[in-house]
């Protein structure tokens, strides 16, 4: 069975004072293992909300979210944290590295919460830094690195727990064209290695690196392009 994620008529309604704002309005989707998706759409289309729901940072107002055959509904805060820790990896537009930690310590962060031994954890971090081409920068602080390098550290961190899905929120939004291309090539390479990647972007050139594109508008699925699954 190739299905990794299934959403069944998922709704998300935010309450802004007395007004209710529907961010997602009955979305049903499946994502299979090894796929590479771009979520596209104008701002307010619900693509970020969708990513937050898939990342277990938020809960749907109604509908079902099934991750690796497990219904996420009804899990408490600790269980959702555990799920993020073991099965999910995040990449953000603004990299979100912890400034006072070194490159190695940033990559080790998920392993720290997983309770890894320090030596194994350090070895794993070095290996991942090597993989994203930053093996020589392990002891640097994030602020000493370029934007592209910081995003590579973030990718290494997202890979540390060997997640089932990588969730990327506009990973090239703060990068120039050349660096964006390098980052996308790295993601394509990871996907080729079998990683499932779900990415939010509003740039067509960036979406072109992915194998499937999901177009959202007003909280609904408008169109699906590329590979289905």
């Amino acid at each position: 069975m190739n299905e990794l994620i299934r959403l069944e008529t998922v709704r998300k309604i935010y309450r802004m004072g007395s007004e209710e704002v529907g961010a997602l309005d009955g979305v049903s989707l499946t994502f299979s293992r090894g796929s590479f998706w771009a979520f596209m759409g104008p701002s307010g289309s619900g693509k970020s909300t969708l990513l937050n729901l898939l990342g277990c940072l938020d809960r749907p107002t109604s509908g079902r979210y099934i991750l690796e055959g497990r219904d996420v509904e009804g899990l408490d805060d600790d269980e959702l944290s555990e799920l993020r820790l073991r099965r999910l990896g995040f990449i953000f537009q603004s990299f979100n590295l912890i400034p006072q930690l070194s490159v190695r310590e940033n990559i080790e962060l998920p392993l720290f919460y997983l309770g890894w031994e320090e030596e194994e954890s350090a070895a794993r971090a070095s290996e991942l830094a090597e993989k994203v081409g930053l093996g020589h920068r392990l002891l640097h602080r994030p602020t000493e690195l370029s934007g592209g390098q910081q995003q590579r550290v973030a990718i290494a961190r997202a890979l540390a727990n060997d997640p089932a899905v990588i969730l990327a929120d506009e990973p090239t939004g703060n990068l120039d064209t050349a660096t964006s291309r390098q980052i996308m090539e790295l993601l394509v390479e990871l996907n080729a290695g079998g990683k499932t990647i779900l990415m939010v972007t509003h740039e067509a050139e960036i979406a072109a690196y992915t194998r499937s594109q999901l177009h959202l508008r007003d909280g609904r699925v408008q169109a699906i392009e590329g590979e289905r699954g």
């Binding site: 940072l57 944290s81 820790l85």
Partner: protein, 418 residues
């Protein structure tokens, strides 16, 4: 456990990054603990000394002392004689009418010049009975105490205190030697250890004393003493200067003391005596000590409260400053309690480090005080445990709210925080 030590290490590292800020924050607890430990040590030392002295007066004893009351004179203007103090009749009544009384030691005190060869020294002559040495226990350094037969035979013998013996004669050769007290020669039969006095308590031998048989004292020196003051003689007539009453049981001490007071009131027109009960003084000293502890405790409480508020303030600022970091950690999979732990560890580390440094200073300061002022101090294990316990508690108490606030942040909102 391994995870905890690692988390503590990380916490210390984060605090180290803001070295100055962390240092200033822990100063509050540092000063609090420092002052508390120091004050407790000084207070403990002082009261331990006082309590020990009172205890040595005997908790079963009642001390009666003659005090010069309002002036009452007999005779002309040139010679005034003050008559006051305890009387032989008092002593007799004490012996006869108080069943709880076990022993009674009367004492006459006379100031005289003592002389051995060329050396002279003013001594306090204590005319007393052998029981003195039982109720005021002292170590005998040489020779023997006064004995009943000395009194009966009216022997001219004297027991000297160590300090007097040292000044008048060489200790080793003194037993059997003679000392002239006033105009009479006394054979030195024993030397006892000197002891320092206790505040205004009628301490038996706070100075250079010569103990002689009561009977001899009465015969040779009489009841009247003369002192030259500003051109005129001042004469005093006192039968007994002091009576130590020993009661058979501690529970009888205070009722007996009350009964004695009542009795004395009846026979003395003026209050020319003082009744003191070491046991009561002991209780009072202990009560004072308790009060002192409460006051110190309040000061400690206030200073640690201030220290704790400082910590809370900084931790709240730190949580706001690190909102994004908290969001990142939560997104990666940190549970709420791990965020709570992270911040709580930092606040506890701050206050415990402050407490430890304060404790070291608090141990060192009393030693310095003792060295320079000679005041006794005592850093008790209790105060150390108290200091550490309280500083740890302050860290938890004032760290918990900021830590909970950190953990309750919505990860999505925290991640967007600038």
């Amino acid at each position: 456990m391994r995870g905890v030590t690692r988390a503590v290490r990380i916490g210390i590292k984060d605090l180290w990054l803001h070295g100055l800020r962390s240092f200033l924050t822990l100063l509050g607890v540092l000063f609090g603990v420092w002052s508390v430990v120091t004050m407790l040590a000084v207070g403990e030392g002082a009261s331990a000394q006082a309590l020990e002295r009172i205890r040595r007066l005997g908790s079963n004893n009642i001390m009666l002392t003659a005090t010069k009351a309002v002036e009452e004179t007999t005779g002309g203007q040139v010679q005034r004689t003050s008559v006051y103090g305890l009387t032989y009749a008092d002593e007799r009544r004490l012996r006869e009418s108080f069943p709880a009384v076990r022993r009674i030691v009367p004492a006459k005190l006379v100031r005289k010049e003592a002389r051995v060869g060329e050396r002279t020294l003013e001594v306090r002559v204590v005319g007393t009975t052998p029981e003195w040495f039982e109720l005021v226990p002292r170590r005998m350094l040489a020779g023997r105490e006064l004995a009943a037969h000395d009194l009966a035979a009216r022997s001219a013998v004297a027991v000297l205190t160590e300090s007097g013996a040292r000044k008048l004669l060489a200790v080793e050769r003194s037993i059997g030697g003679f000392v002239k007290i006033g105009t009479f020669a006394f054979e030195v039969i024993g030397i006892v250890e000197s002891d320092v006095g206790v505040g205004d308590l009628p301490t038996p031998d706070q100075e250079v004393d010569a103990y002689i048989p009561m009977t001899v004292c009465k015969d040779r020196f009489g009841d009247i003493s003369q002192r030259r003051t500003s051109g005129s003689f001042e004469r005093e007539q006192v039968e007994l200067h002091q009576i130590i009453v020993e009661v058979d049981d501690t529970s009888h001490v205070e009722p007996t003391a009350d009964a004695i007071t009542t009795m004395l009131k009846r026979f003395h027109k003026r209050a020319d005596y003082k009744v003191q009960v070491p046991l009561t003084l002991l209780r009072e000293a202990e009560a004072t000590k308790r009060t002192f502890s409460i006051v110190l405790g309040s000061i400690a409480g206030i200073s640690l409260l201030v220290g704790g508020i400082g910590i809370m303030n900084i931790m709240l600022a730190s949580v706001t400053e690190r909102t994004r970091e908290i969001g990142i950690r939560r997104a990666i999979g940190a549970k709420k309690r791990q965020i709570v732990g992270q911040f709580l560890i930092e606040s506890v580390v701050l206050s415990v480090v402050g407490g430890l440094v304060g404790l070291l200073l608090g141990i060192a300061t009393p030693a310095v005080i003792e060295h320079f002022s000679g005041m006794p101090t005592d850093v008790t294990p209790d105060s150390i445990a108290l200091a550490l316990g309280i500083s740890g508690a302050v860290g938890v108490l004032f760290g918990i709210y900021p830590a909970l606030r950190a953990a309750d942040l919505d990860p999505i909102v925290a991640l967007r925080h600038e």
